[in-house]
């Protein structure tokens, strides 16, 4: 394993250990790189409090999607790469001593794309949140809908919004944390209807990605397009919180909402 990592943003070399100790955030330019679900849970939930739901739920190639690589192969590759069965890990956890329903998406698994399993896991997480009357917390990270599931992936947008709507009706708070990158079908469904939206610094959060927009309007787009800081200025997110502060921010919010 290499001792040094080059920051993709500022280009500086970082000692591997320093980079990991800093939770995969560049110590020089504060670039928040992609964090896997399990690492995220480790730094967010109270030690030993996380219990996963529906770990064995798996996607199926019900459309027999025609591709150079079959959907099955792509799923297997993603599984080997991430050690996960799907693009989201859900379960119960405690944050600062408060029980919560926690969902964490994983961009490493087929670009965090939302298919039937992601939708169903979120629906069940909402059910749990309602049953136990605990806040719903989801870390979003996704390129959008999973094309290999065709229209069914579009339907997951409606499905997750409906499930979240039931949480809303019960007046249970829902917090969503936007991480790099969150776009497409996930940003246009459950992610943007949270009561409070927290964004990591520099997180891309948009519907159409920068490349698509630049192609559509046939113009260069500003470098801060869709980024957290611009979204904050435009009123699209409540706040920006660094990776290290998110846990305390969430704990504080839970306390505020539970009085």
């Amino acid at each position: 394993m290499e001792e040094k990592i080059k920051c993709r943003k500022c280009g500086r070399e970082i000692e591997r250990e320093a980079f990991l100790l800093n939770l995969r955030v560049c110590p020089y330019c504060n670039d928040h790189t992609i964090l896997g679900s399990m690492d995220r849970i480790l730094i967010t939930a109270d030690e030993g409090s996380f219990r996963e739901f529906s770990r064995d739920m798996k996607s199926v190639d019900f459309l027999k999607f025609f591709d150079l690589k079959s959907y099955k192969e792509r799923l297997m590759e993603a599984k080997l790469k991430t050690g996960l069965n799907e693009a989201i890990v859900t379960g119960e956890a405690k944050i600062g001593g408060h029980p919560v329903a926690l969902g964490v998406m994983d961009f490493g698994f087929m670009g965090g794309s939302m298919g039937s399993v992601v939708g169903e896991k979120i629906r069940r997480l909402c059910d749990f949140s309602i049953k136990k009357v605990v806040p719903l917390i989801i870390f979003a990270s996704s390129g959008g809908a999973r094309m290999q599931e065709g229209i069914m992936s579009l339907m997951q947008m409606a499905k997750t919004v409906s499930a979240v709507n039931r949480v809303r009706e019960k007046k249970i708070p829902y917090f969503c944390i936007i991480t790099y990158p969150t776009s497409g079908g996930v940003s246009a469904s459950f992610a943007t209807i949270a009561d409070i939206i927290i964004s990591e610094p520099g997180a891309l959060f948009c519907f159409a990605g920068p490349r698509v927009v630049s192609q559509t309007i046939k113009k260069e787009i500003p470098p801060d397009f869709g980024l957290a800081e611009r979204n904050l200025k435009n009123g699209q997110v409540d706040m920006i919180a660094g990776r290290k502060e998110i846990r305390d921010t969430l704990a504080r919010l839970i306390r505020l909402f539970s009085s």
Partner: protein, 327 residues
């Protein structure tokens, strides 16, 4: 004999097959290779080619429907509104930032009952297309829909939507104003209202931009319309970085009315006049009017709570997965 080439389906597979085929034919002509050695290979090659030919034929069939669904002569939202509702009053603006013409909103009467109408127009000539931004909506449009649905909810008007959009507009300003949030909130609003919602997909059902108006108690689809998570062009570009794959993507995505009915994403297929809706727009409008009268009658007997619950159940059951353990 390079069969390996065939095993991995190449980017634009047709070309590749033809290339392999000609290579194979050439090889056969070399005396050294002549004879029995090729039998199995030949059979395998034949099978593959036949398989691909079938895929190719199916793709062409699906593509014809895609072209029909995008046909500019097809009746559009405005035609249905004019031909179906009486006392129609168009409503404008989201009361926040502006007015988006691509989304048409208003109130009208059908069978003596007031309904709220939402829909997308693409326009029939260049001038109209520019006015309607080719049916691609911006946050103002989705927020206008939300406002109209709110009126419908408070006054108990059923909502009818006509969906026809290539996609939500991918622009700088649209993004800055919260395109994603506007779509999500529109979807949310459709789960919140206590009135019946009837959705008719009349042309192109393009991704999130279409779904923003398509959460109905009942979703109907014209025979030659399409409904997809991504355009075939977009899908081909992302998966294969090759526009030649567009037709293949159209087939793979399963976007036609029979496929969507099989997946239960649409409840009704509304048949079009021979050759497509554009051949007899007036008759098409009449058929849709009859369908809507019937559907509104069927859904009017449920209470607000029942309607909401049925909508939630309709959409929350979507998905295919397998599970060995349960939680």
């Amino acid at each position: 004999m390079d069969l390996k080439k065939l095993k991995e389906v190449p980017k634009s597979y047709v070309k590749e097959i033809l290339r392999s085929l000609s290579k194979f034919e050439r090889l056969k002509k070399i005396p050294f290779f002549a004879g029995i050695h090729f039998k199995d290979a030949e059979k395998e090659l034949d099978g593959k080619i036949e398989g691909y030919r079938m895929i190719d034929r199916q793709s062409a069939r699906v593509w014809r429907i895609v072209e029909l669904s995008r046909d500019g002569r097809r009746p559009q939202c405005l035609d249905y509104v004019k031909g179906i509702f009486t006392d129609f009053v168009e409503l404008s603006g989201d009361r926040l930032a502006g007015e988006d013409k691509s989304v048409m909103a208003g109130l009208g009467k059908i069978g003596g009952r007031t309904v709220a109408i939402l829909g997308q127009n693409k326009g029939k000539d260049t001038k109209e297309r520019i006015k309607y931004n080719f049916g691609m909506s911006v946050p103002e449009g989705y927020r206008k829909s939300i406002r109209i649905m709110d009126i419908a909810d408070r006054f108990g008007f059923p909502v009818v939507t006509f969906v026809d959009t290539p996609a939500a507009y991918a622009g700088m300003e649209a993004e800055d104003k919260g395109q994603a949030g506007a779509i999500a909130t529109s979807i949310l609003k459709m789960f919140e209202v206590s009135v019946p919602i009837i959705v008719v997909l009349i042309g192109e059902g393009g991704s999130g931009g279409a779904l923003a108006l398509a959460v109905g108690n009942e979703v109907a689809m014209l025979e030659n319309s399409t409904y997809s998570v991504i355009t075939p062009e977009g899908c081909a570009a992302i998966l294969w970085r090759d526009p030649a794959g567009t037709k293949l993507a159209a087939r793979a995505l399963k976007i036609t009315s029979p496929d969507l009915a099989r997946l239960k994403v649409v409840d009704r297929i509304i048949h079009e006049p021979m050759g497509g809706a554009h051949n007899d727009p007036r008759r098409m409008v009449k058929i849709v009017k009859r369908y809507l009268t019937d559907a509104l009658g069927r859904w009017s007997k449920f209470s607000g709570e029942e309607l909401k619950m049925m909508r939630a159940q309709r959409f929350e059951k979507f998905g295919f997965f397998e599970e060995t353990d349960t939680f």
